[in-house]
């Protein structure tokens, strides 16, 4: 416990000290990810858009599941959740491999390792914010409109960012040590997608199953994006769930700090 708290302090202090460099690295990371392509960063938006269109076609036209959900047209109900998921999915796979992907910073240079997952997640977050902006525009153009609950988005995007920082640091610490963890993350992504109420509503579940599904922190975030756009629920109204999420985040943060403290000195020996 003591190790975890001290290490958490180190990680936070390091990140504050190098924050400017981290921002620059995030920008460069973004440029690098799409370098050599003509559309550049727009691929970061095109790819999810294509994905959304295909899902929408399959469900609305193919499966004829055109019923409004929670009083909103399916597409509009679906958009906030899937956009949240795209970011989480990238944060887990790309962010979760950040240290290994930037191994040259660890083994060939003196670079603050604790900021590597942070700048990777930040570069993904830029794209995410653009997508959220597009969703807002779609809501306005569709005539469905926005309500005062949209301000909740500030809270939920911050929750998602925190989640992404913590989990990507944890996973990239583990993937740096063991390739198996990286493969494991990739293979459970599909399961996580279907087990999280992204294209189905958690309200269709009842009893114990509903609570088991809600244990998944990603469920809290996806539901949260929906609260802001269509469900019109305040996060402090569902306060038990909010408390659960933050307790879980605290535990994960301490666990991550503990792992990092134990393993980060060995990164340069392993990578």
């Amino acid at each position: 416990m003591r190790t975890a708290i001290l290490s958490l302090r180190d990680i936070v202090v390091t990140n504050m000290k190098y924050f400017r460099r981290t921002l620059d690295m995030a920008r460069v990371d973004l440029v690098k990810r799409y370098s050599g392509s003509i559309l550049g960063i727009f691929w970061g938006i095109v790819r999810p858009m294509v994905f959304i269109s295909v899902y929408w076609f399959a469900i609305q036209v193919g499966l004829r599941g055109n019923q409004p959900v929670d009083g909103a047209p399916f597409l509009l109900w679906f958009l906030p959740g899937i956009v949240c998921w795209f970011f989480i999915s990238d944060a887990l796979t790309i962010g979760g491999a950040a240290i290994r992907a930037n191994s040259h910073l660890v083994t060939k240079m003196v670079y603050p390792v604790a900021t590597i997952p942070v700048f990777t997640v930040l570069s993904l977050y830029f794209v995410h914010l653009m997508l959220v902006g597009i969703v807002v525009v779609i809501f306005i153009l569709s005539g469905y409109g926005l309500s005062v609950y949209i301000f909740e988005l500030f809270y939920y995007t911050l929750c998602t960012l925190t989640f992404a920082f913590v989990v990507s640091t944890m996973l990239s610490t583990l993937t740096a040590v063991s390739h198996d963890v990286g493969h494991m993350v990739k293979s459970i992504m599909t399961a996580l997608f279907w087990l999280t109420p992204i294209i189905w509503s958690v309200d269709t579940l009842h009893g114990i199953v509903r609570y088991i599904v809600m244990l998944n922190p990603v469920c809290y975030l996806v539901q949260g994006y929906r609260n802001a756009f269509v469900l019109e629920r305040w996060f402090f109204v569902e306060w038990e769930y909010t408390v659960y999420f933050w307790v879980l985040m605290t535990a994960l943060t301490l666990f991550t700090s503990f792992l990092f403290a134990k393993l980060h000195k060995e990164f340069s020996d392993i990578l």
């Binding site: 690295m25 050599g36 003196v110 040590v177 198996d180 393993l263 340069s268």
Partner: protein, 397 residues
């Protein structure tokens, strides 16, 4: 003058695991399941400021580990490292370059990773580009660069930070001679400015020309340190001894299941003059002959012969085409003799060396019949200097 770097009681132990998942699981275990490997064992060293220190040792002696710990990339298991001044480490010149970005963008990228503020890069950019000397390629993606160009760019960025202590780990091995000269020149410049350089190179030639002090590491222990001359003498003695022992042991050690001589056996190589007498002295302009017996013991598809003539410094004078089908020789099982006549090779007086092999290109199999066998050419009248005589004529109006 004080010490630029002081290392005391430094030990580095690597933890090795059978499987990588064990390393992760060990975090939660009370027991440590790793095997230990000690790369550095209680090292005490002072690196005085203003010296160029060569770090010598075989592969795996702990040189790179030591440099990485001094740099701060790796962390020691126990012991102290005290560094006075700004360190720039060249552990690898081209790592971290993004292939798709241009050379100029990569300057920023690398400088950013090294923590150099943007305005400082801006000020140094022209200097970096000039030193790298890659012309208009600077605006092209780095993937189009040759390895030498990449190395030059990497070196240019690394030295641009104006370090007090420069750490160079075997990076001059890449790149061409021009690049090497340029780097050595730059490092000489640093030396004159009183900066400290820690230098790892397998080229003893470069080390002798450039370094002032030496440290010799073997198996993680300091074997010798001090003036370069003393250290290098001890190290070279050690290498010679090592080679001698390796030679003595080698025949017993490596007995491959099937030797080349089980396929083709060569015997009785000799060189002959025009008269057919055995000799290694030839007159200028005279034919040079050599012959040998070979016995094909197992069926070989096709054998060709080739030969190489080198001068005294072992620079190639001529090598016959290894794939020339005209050089095909008998390859049926049995004993054969091959006699080759080099028709009046216009070699000038001097010592030359003849090498040659029999080849089977399909199987990439070869067996040598002569390895740099020396022969001399004598000449009575002086007709010019060099290796070979070039026939010439002239017109004069």
């Amino acid at each position: 003058m004080g010490n630029a770097v002081r290392v005391s009681g430094l030990t580095k132990t690597y933890r090795l695991y059978e499987s990588s998942i064990d390393r992760a699981l060990d975090v939660f275990r009370r027991t440590d399941r790793s095997r230990k490997f000690t790369a550095l064992n209680n090292i005490n060293l002072d690196f005085p400021a203003g010296e160029v220190v060569a770090i010598l040792g075989k592969n795996g002696s702990g040189k790179s580990t030591l440099l990485k710990i001094i740099t701060g990339v790796a962390s020691q298991t126990t012991g102290e490292v005290e560094v006075n001044g700004r360190v720039s480490a060249m552990l690898e010149l081209t790592s971290g370059f993004d292939k798709e970005l241009s050379g100029e963008e990569n300057i920023y990228l690398r400088a950013l990773a090294m923590g150099i503020p943007r305005d400082e890069v801006e000020a140094k950019k022209q200097e970096i580009i000039d030193f790298a000397d890659i012309g208009t390629h600077i605006n092209q993606p780095v993937r189009t660069y040759s390895s030498g160009m990449k190395a030059r760019l990497g070196f240019a960025v690394s030295v641009s930070v104006d370090p007090d202590i420069l750490i160079v780990d075997e990076v001059l091995a890449v790149g061409d001679d021009v690049f090497k000269l340029k780097c050595i020149d730059k490092m000489q410049h640093f030396r004159k400015e009183g900066k400290t350089i820690l230098f790892v190179s397998h080229s003893l030639f470069t080390v002798k020309a450039f370094c002032t002090r030496g440290v010799w590491l073997d198996k993680g222990v300091v074997m010798a340190e001090g003036d370069l001359g003393d250290v290098i003498t001890k190290y070279e003695d050690f290498l010679r001894e090592e080679r001698r022992r390796a030679k003595a042991v080698a025949p017993k050690d490596e007995a491959p299941p099937m030797d080349k001589s089980d396929v083709v056996k060569i015997a009785g190589f000799r060189m002959l003059n025009q008269a057919g007498e055995k000799t290694t002295n030839f007159k200028y302009g005279e034919d040079v002959l050599f012959e040998f017996r070979y016995e094909v013991k197992r069926p070989v598809e096709k054998l060709t012969f080739c030969f190489t003539v080198r001068n005294a410094e072992y620079h190639e004078v001529f090598m016959a085409d290894k794939q020339n089908p005209d050089n095909t020789i008998a390859s049926n099982v049995g004993k054969h003799t091959l006699r080759v006549r080099l028709r009046s090779p216009n070699l000038l007086a001097g010592t030359y060396a003849l090498s040659g092999e029999l080849w089977n290109n399909e199987a990439a199999f070869y067996v040598g019949y002569s390895n740099k066998r020396p022969f001399t050419i004598e000449q009575d009248e002086f007709i010019g200097t060099g290796i070979t005589r070039i026939d010439y004529e002239f017109e004069n109006d």
